[in-house]
């Protein structure tokens, strides 16, 4: 049972996550029908799940909430900001009570009652009698149950014009009319078609059509079902008129009966107008009527709930992450073993073996892709969670904020994403609170009133970068420096780069200092942020410019990563360049490289800057008579050549960390074990290019 409850909570969490993103997009786009449907559906499934597990309090709560959206969905209510706010508050509440389903926590209980009151107010607005909700009693819940499950009666106008040949098909339209009439109160108005010429007149054809007014609690689809066999060749128009008590109204009768037997099409809009003037709005229904229909509908509702859960079950299954980890480990071992096989095959050139080895390579590659697809989740899941945070915080602060996300498709390990949420939330809150200025201040600085906070994720080498960029007031390095000195972290005469100075933000104890909070703000709990990220083996750094903004960068290693790479050799050491950045390979004479002062090569009639890796890595330069391979890699929009001695070939590399000792050699993002057991180092070309650029700049100075 406990296990089942875990499943429930997991699923509920997912549903709620879904719900939140739909709600937030509804806020921007209140008329988006598909979103309202989505919200309704999610609530419905949640309700179904909750009652399945006997969590009646949650089920009832969601049920009431769902009622609002059902009404909106049916066009009976307009989505308002108040409704959204209440829904979001309810959403928060749901998040809490899915683990406290019996409302044992006092605050939860209070909240529960309060929110139910609010929700009922909305439902009440739409005509349902309001309950007194001081006590959350069983009877009250039952009552509200009734309210939703009853479908409100409404009037349909059905225009039924059977095809002329209907009798030949063996159908009798009168049966259909009778069936309709049995569905509720009705007026049936027959019309005869005007026959122009009695010469061509076919007496077996049907020349009658009907206008039927039906007041019933059934749905439009139920009405349509009646016509299921004649749909093909008949004209059927069904209009819902949201008014009742028309049929018993004498003046309505008079109007519609006036058209009887005449060959004229009833104008639906005029009927609508008439209905509005004499009819009774659907919502204002008496409670007696509600009970009548109660019997039929709950079954229906349950059915749909079941159908939806069933769909979910088919589309995904739950697997514990331990199993996935094991799978990933096995896949990476398989890839390594396969590399040995390929190597063995190369040495022994047996044609049969070659076929087998190639097949295994193909299979392992596919297996790898699938295994990856299972453990990695797009970071977007997390990004959408922050929409809400930004909305709430910026509202509370009175700031205008545009929240932009980029690279949401970047994939990360699910566990990493979960651990990252809190630190990121903290950083974003800081950006909003301390980074961005108030709209007035921004205008004074010639900035757009609306501040921007950008969340960006991208791959580089075998790392994932996440950046939080704001265009706020930035952090003044001088102030941090002074603070660091006064706190004793730094000596007066020590010279540090700006980067090093910004690192003080992450010092424990530095953050709480008032001065910083007043002036630049960053820092409250930033040490915790750093610790969290370090726990993930990540690195965090800050860049900032006063009045331009602040960029916080988090670099995370991909926990276990298998990449397609190009295996190359430099000074008898094997290196892997990720194939994702490799553009093209060229062969050039070494002399061309060595006697090159502007460090540009002409490749395919284009000038390409290049890096002599031997020089960069401190290996001896080779003699000018030999040839080198230039591998052109892309780095953002740039293309840069990297010189290597030989290209060995494509290689599927299981990248392993090389350990903390090499933390200063971060242009090597890891190592992989080759088929013969030796080690190849995996290059992070982005870092190599960065390093080289810095290096060149220094030289110029």
């Amino acid at each position: 049972m406990e296990e089942m409850k875990d499943t429930y909570i997991q699923e509920a969490n997912e549903l709620l996550e879904n719900l939140e993103s739909s709600l937030l997009s509804l806020e921007d786009n209140p008329n988006d029908k598909s979103n309202i449907e989505q919200v309704f559906r999610v609530m419905h499934t949640l309700k179904g799940n909750s009652s399945m597990f006997g969590l009646t309090k949650i089920a009832e709560f969601v049920h009431d909430l769902e009622t609002i959206y059902d009404k909106i969905r049916q066009g009976e209510m307009q989505l308002s900001r108040d409704i959204l706010n209440t829904t979001l508050a309810s959403f928060d509440h749901l998040n809490l009570i899915i683990v406290d389903s019996e409302l044992e926590e006092e605050t939860n209980k209070e909240n529960h009652v309060k929110l139910i009151n609010e929700i009922h107010k909305f439902i009440g607005k739409a005509g349902v009698e309001q309950h007194s909700n001081d006590n959350l009693t069983e009877s009250q819940v039952v009552k509200s149950e009734n309210v939703e499950l009853i479908d409100q009666p409404k009037t349909f106008h059905i225009h039924f014009e059977p095809g002329e040949s209907i009798f030949l098909d063996g159908s009798n339209p009168l049966f259909l009319v009778a069936e309709l009439a049995a569905m509720g109160k009705s007026i049936v108005v027959p019309h005869f078609k005007h026959v122009t010429s009695l010469v061509d007149y076919n007496p077996t054809n049907c020349f009658t059509y009907w206008d039927i007014y039906l007041e019933s609690t059934c749905q439009k689809t139920d009405v349509l079902d009646v016509f299921v066999f004649v749909e093909g060749n008949s004209m059927i128009e069904i209009t819902e008129i949201p008014f009742i008590e028309l049929i018993s109204n004498p003046s309505f009768n008079e109007v519609v009966n006036g058209t009887m037997f005449k060959d004229l099409k009833t104008d639906v809009t005029s009927i609508m107008l008439l209905a509005e003037s004499i009819g009774k709005k659907v919502e204002a229904v008496s409670s007696n009527e509600k009970n009548e229909i109660l019997v039929a509908t709950p079954v229906e509702a349950q059915k749909t709930a079941k159908a939806e859960t069933k769909e979910k079950v088919v589309s995904s299954i739950r697997v514990s992450s331990d199993k996935l980890d094991e799978l990933m480990n096995l896949v990476s071992e398989l890839v390594t073993t396969q590399a040995s096989l390929t190597l063995y095959n190369q040495k022994n050139e047996t044609p049969e073996l070659e076929v087998i080895s190639e097949n295994i390579e193909k299979l392992s590659r596919r297996l790898r892709d699938i295994a990856f697809g299972m453990t990695l989740v797009p970071i977007n899941n997390m990004f959408s969670r922050f929409q809400r945070l930004v909305r709430d915080v910026s509202m509370a602060l009175g700031k205008e904020v545009q929240f932009v996300t980029e690279g949401g498709e970047t994939e990360l390990d699910k566990s990493i994403i979960e651990t990252l949420t809190d630190p990121l939330m903290h950083i974003i809150r800081n950006s909003l609170d301390h980074g961005l200025e108030l709209p007035e201040v921004r205008e004074n600085h010639n900035k757009d009133r609306k501040g921007t906070v950008k969340l960006k994720a991208f791959y580089s080498g075998i790392s994932v970068y996440i950046q939080i960029i704001d265009d706020g007031k930035g952090i003044d390095a001088n102030i941090i420096r002074k603070k660091a000195i006064s706190k004793g972290f730094l000596k007066e005469d020590e010279v540090l780069t700006d980067k090093e100075i910004y690192d003080f933000i992450f010092y424990p104890g530095f953050s709480t200092a008032e001065v910083i909070t007043d002036i630049s703000g960053r820092g409250v709990g930033m040490d915790v942020v750093k610790r969290n990220i370090t726990d993930l083996k990540g690195v965090v750094s800050v860049e900032s410019k006063v009045n331009v903004g602040t960029t916080l960068t988090i670099k995370l290693p991909l926990s276990l990563s298998i990449i397609d790479g190009l295996l190359v050799e430099i000074a008898h050491v094997n290196y892997i360049i990720p194939l994702s950045v490799v553009n093209k390979c060229y062969e050039v004479d070494n002399s061309e490289m060595m006697e090159n002062f502007n460090k540009l090569l002409i490749l395919d009639d284009k000038q390409v800057p290049f890096i002599n890796i031997r020089q960069e890595f401190g290996y001896k330069n080779v003699s000018g008579s030999e040839k080198s391979q230039i591998i052109v890699v892309s780095d953002g929009d740039k293309k840069v050549g990297i010189s290597v001695d030989y290209i060995v070939g494509e290689y599927q590399a299981v990248v392993k960390p090389i350990g903390k000792y090499y933390k200063n050699q971060d242009f090597i993002s890891g190592a992989t074990i080759l088929g013969d057991g030796s080690i190849a180092l995996v290059m992070d070309t982005h870092k190599i290019i960065d390093l080289y650029t810095e290096h060149v700049k220094l030289e110029l100075k």
Binding site: G659, Q665, A671, I679
Partner: protein, 172 residues
């Protein structure tokens, strides 16, 4: 002194120690810290790394960083002989387990020792950083330094190592 405090805590227990040689100097570390002893395989050097970091090796599918212990102690670079070997050590840095290979000139023996026999190092006589040495012992007329390997091989010490590289303490 910190070393003394540690001593008092573990006093009275008998433990196994392994002794090894760096140049002519004898050192010893608790066997508990050693996972295995390897012959020197092919070492892949990582470019631009400080010179005490010899490179990485393949330890049954895992990538293991290897440290030249001699350079770490301010001696000259290790010369590979038939006796040269790698001690695979499991050390603890900031409550985290770290596995590292330590290149040593030769391994001598494993012996049992009552921890009480570890004597504090005379402070004047040390040519090594005091926090690297846990104490001294005497075994078969041979004085040996008991190393505090968690300290010696902690990667956090990278900065201080590069300092000592500029002004190496001459041994021989």
């Amino acid at each position: 002194m910190k070393a003394e405090a540690t001593l008092e805590r573990i006093a009275g227990e008998t433990k196994s120690f392994l002794s090894f040689k760096l140049a002519e100097e004898h050192f010893t570390i608790p066997v508990m810290k050693i996972m295995e002893i390897l012959e020197v395989p092919k070492i892949t050097k990582v470019p631009q790394a400080p010179n005490f970091l010899v490179g990485v090796i393949n330890l049954r599918g895992a990538v293991l960083p290897v440290i030249d212990t001699r350079i770490k102690f301010g001696m000259s670079q290790i010369q590979y002989t038939i006796n040269t070997c790698i001690l695979v050590l499991s050390i603890e840095v900031n409550e985290e387990e770290l596995v590292v290979g330590a290149l040593v000139d030769s391994v001598s023996e494993v012996f049992e020792l009552d921890e009480e026999k570890i004597k504090p190092t005379p402070t004047i006589a040390t040519k090594y950083r005091a926090d690297y040495i846990q104490g001294m012992i005497q075994e078969n007329d041979q004085f040996m330094m008991v190393l505090n390997i968690d300290k010696v091989f902690s990667s956090n010490d990278l900065e201080s190592i590069s300092e000592s590289k500029e002004a190496p303490i001459k041994l021989d």
